[in-house]
Structure formats: structure tokens, C-alpha cells
Amino acid sequence: MTAGVPGTGIGGLFYLMAALLLPVRGLLLRMRGGRVSWRMVAKLLFLAIGVFLGIWATWWLLGLAIVPAAETVEAAIHVRGILRREYAEFVRWAAILAGFVTLAAVLIGTQVARLVIKRR
């Protein structure tokens, strides 16, 4: 079973970051005398780079979708001062940043919960 909704939300970002960090983790593990399957690390790293390019494509698609959407938003909320292109850039970056900020908040929240429970 797959918990949650695969691909949507912060899950994809979490596993992407985890895969990108695998070489660093491998080095640290190796320095402590642990065994590392570099072949698997390389395989997952390449996969993560592919997914990263996929996210970049998403970012690009988002831009294509936002410009037409911005016309309606402009009309609906009468945003006259903001240029359509700037609005599209803002939404595009905001969407990506929101994902990373949410992921960071969830991970930090988990650590805080752990410390609180441990103290009790």
C-alpha cells in the first residue's frame, strides 16, 4: 500500500531531497566504517535528478497555465497595478517555495514533538 497521495504534496519533495542527500549520507556512513552500496546510491541519485528535471518541467507548465488564469484573476479582483507576467512569476515561485517551507515545517514539527514527548 502507498500511504497518502503519491506524487502530490510534500511527499515527492521529501523523497527527492532524501535521494539527493544519499551521497553525503554514504560518505558519513563510510567514514564510520559502514557499508555503502554506491551503485544503488548512484542509481537513486540519477533518478532524483530526473525527478528534479520533472519538477522543473512542472514549474514551466505552471507558468504556461498561470498567464491565462491570471487574466481571470485580474478581471475578478481588479488587480490593475500588477503586470500579468510578474503575477505569473510570483505564483510560480510561491508554489515551489510553499512546498519546501511546508516540508521544513512538518520535519521541524516532528523533531519538536519528539523532544517534547522525550521530556515527559
Partner: protein, 354 residues
């Protein structure tokens, strides 16, 4: 799946100290394929035990005619976990495999799983899962979901030493480890997740071996899918509720579960409520692109998983089904969270749905 030829990796067939438990309730249509695939393994299990959980369709007789051990509890155990635990008392080998009665194995699956136990701390190991039949929209959706998850998520989890679940449809365990926790727990509807997380809490390790492949029959229609998703989503919520304190002490797993919880709830709300509301408010269909905006990121691991199997065309054709399944998945997760955590209505009935 076409029956593949058994060619042992090591070059010679041998018997392994493994007992296979096959819980079966009215599985006469599928248990034959399961037993044949076990008997065709490159490493032969010492014993195959079919637990005929008081079937009414002759499952026990069919299994017995194939030369395996058949045991029958005095009354239906009520769940897969109950049937498996009933059989545990009959296991005399170092390792035990639990496999669903509608699941077949690649011929070298057991041989590939065994080396994971070279590390004495490893208590469980599982392999990749792929649907045996890929025809209906639900089977195609599940096929893409599995290609994605087992090519990317599960392999990353294994690198960090914490696969989220040792899959219930096919996993191998160290017998003493399962006995030490009293067998497969029946307190939640996802016994595989419960057992995996219990093993972590006891300091044991779990491994994922991507090359060990099993092929379950996935729900082909909405009726079966509904039962399966209800069981999985309620099982997930029940396990988080049961284990969350102890999970906080398991590195990586705590983060993976926290992220899964967030996505199960918040991403589902965004998916099911926010996107259509925004599209309606602004009366602009472009916002609905949010449903498929992550296609490029999804497709990369799917292609990576399909290419070595020479199934690229089938995988790409199946991608749209994944998005339909994902939407249905989101509905069931939200309903499970609402029922279990808000209304306090715990789902306790184990409904068979593949």
C-alpha cells in the same frame, strides 16, 4: 504474467529453511497459481502451509491435491492476520514467508530475499509488487502507482534503513521475531504495517529487495477497490494512532510517516476541495491543471521502473488511470481520517477485497 522458467541465480536448486504460510478464504480460483509459483522457486521452501480459513468453495481440497500441507482452524479467524498467526504454531524453520492466496512470485523471489537475512538484526524483508493483471482502469492505476513507489520511494526508504511497510502480500520474516511479538497483530486493519512498525520499535531491521518480485491480483472493479482502499486507509490511520509515540524514536521513519500524514490529509483537501473551488470562484478551468501538474515528476520513476521490464508502452498508456486512482485514494483517506479521528468510529470488520 507468463510463467517464467526457474533458473537459480546460484546455478543449482536447493531447499531453504523457509515455511510459506498461505492464508486462504474461498480462494479456489487463485490458490493453484500461488502454490505452483511457490513450487517452481529456484530455492524450494521446506514446507508450504495453506490455512483453509473455513472456506466453502473447496480451497482446502484443491490445495491438498497439489501436495502441500493444509490446516483448518475450528472457526473462521476473521482476518488474514488471524489465519497467519494460527499457522505460526506449525512453523519449524528459521524463516517464515507470508503470501496472499492471490499472489504469485517471480521464480527467483525467495532466493533473492534470503541474503537480506545475512544481517542477524534483519527481522523482515519484502520485495517489489506489481499487479498480475493490468486491464481495468483500477489495475492500470495501481500498476503505475507501484512502478512509481517501488522504483523511487521504497528504494530511498531502504537506503535510510526504514522501509515504511514490509508488504503483507509477500514478505519473509525471521520466525523468532514474529513469535516474539505474538504473531501477526489483529488490532488494526493493516497487519503488515503494524508488524513492521512493531519490529522497528524493538530495534530490529527491515529490508526491501527490489529484485524479489511478486504479482498479486489487484481489484479489477470499483466494488473490490472500495473494500481494499477502506481497509488500507483505516489501517494507516489506526497504525499512526497506535504507534506515533514510539515512531518518533525511529529515524527517517518518523519523517516519512509525518510527511505521509500531511499529504494524506492536506494534499487530499487541496486536491478534492481547494482546486475545484478556486476554478469555480474564478470560473477558469486552467486551475484544474493542478490535478495533473506533477505528471513530469511522476513519469520519471515510472519510466525508470518500466524500461528494464520492457513495459514502457504499457506504463505510459496507464498513466491517466493513475490520476483517477489517486483522486479516489484521496477520498478514502479523508473519509478514514474523518471516521477514525473526528467521529471516533473505528473500522473493525476485515473486508476481503484482494
Amino acid at each position: 504474467m507468463a510463467m517464467e522458467e526457474s533458473v537459480p541465480i546460484s546455478g543449482m536448486t536447493r531447499t531453504a529453511p523457509v515455511t510459506v504460510i498461505v492464508p486462504a478464504f474461498n480462494e479456489s480460483a487463485s490458490v493453484v497459481d500461488t502454490i505452483h509459483s511457490l513450487q517452481a522457486q529456484t530455492v524450494i521452501p521446506a514446507e508450504i502451509i495453506v490455512v483453509d480459513d473455513c472456506s466453502a468453495d473447496g480451497t482446502g481440497d484443491i490445495a491438498r491435491s497439489l501436495g502441500v500441507t493444509v490446516i483448518r482452524p475450528p472457526a473462521n479467524t476473521g482476518s488474514k492476520a488471524g489465519a497467519q498467526t494460527f499457522a505460526l504454531a506449525h512453523v519449524r524453520t528459521e524463516f517464515v514467508i507470508a503470501i496472499d492466496a492471490d499472489t504469485t512470485l517471480a521464480p527467483d523471489a525467495i532466493e533473492r530475499l534470503l541474503p537480506a537475512f545475512d544481517d542477524a538484526n534483519v527481522a523482515a524483508a519484502c520485495g517489489s509488487v506489481l499487479p498480475r493483471r493490468i486491464k481495468s482502469v483500477w489495475e492500470r492505476g495501481r500498476y503505475v502507482e507501484y512502478l512509481f513507489a517501488f522504483t523511487f520511494y521504497k528504494q530511498v526508504q531502504d537506503q535510510y534503513g526504514a522501509p515504511l511497510i514490509s508488504s503483507g502480500c509477500f514478505s519473509m520474516y525471521r520466525t523468532e521475531a514474529v513469535c516474539a511479538v505474538g504473531g501477526w497483530p489483529t488490532r488494526t486493519l493493516a497487519e503488515d504495517m503494524d508488524l513492521t512498525w512493531t519490529l522497528y520499535q524493538r530495534g530490529r531491521a527491515v529490508r526491501f529487495v527490489s529484485g524479489a518480485v511478486c504479482y498479486p491480483i489487484e481489484p479489477r472493479n470499483y466494488g473490490f477497490l472500495k473494500k481494499q482502499l477502506r481497509r488500507w486507509s483505516h489501517g494507516f490511520v489506526q497504525n499512526v494512532r497506535l504507534h506515533w509515540r514510539e515512531l518518533l524514536e525511529v529515524p527517517f521513519l518518523r519523517s516519512a510517516v509525518a510527511v505521509a500524514c500531511w499529504d494524506a490529509v492536506v494534499a487530499s483537501v487541496v486536491y478534492l476541495v481547494l482546486l475545484p473551488v478556486i476554478a469555480l470562484v474564478f470560473w477558469n478551468p486552467y486551475f484544474l491543471l493542478g490535478y495533473v501538474i506533477d505528471v513530469p515528476a511522476i513519469v520519471v520513476p515510472v519510466i525508470a521502473g518500466a524500461l528494464p521490464r520492457r513495459e514502457l508502452g504499457r506504463a505510459l498508456v496507464s498513466v491517466p488511470s493513475f490520476f483517477i486512482l489517486r483522486t479516489v485514494n484521496a477520498v478514502f483517506f479523508l473519509k478514514a481520517v474523518w471516521a477514525e479521528l473526528v467521529r471516533g468510529r473505528r473500522l473493525v470488520t476485515y473486508e476481503k477485497g484482494h
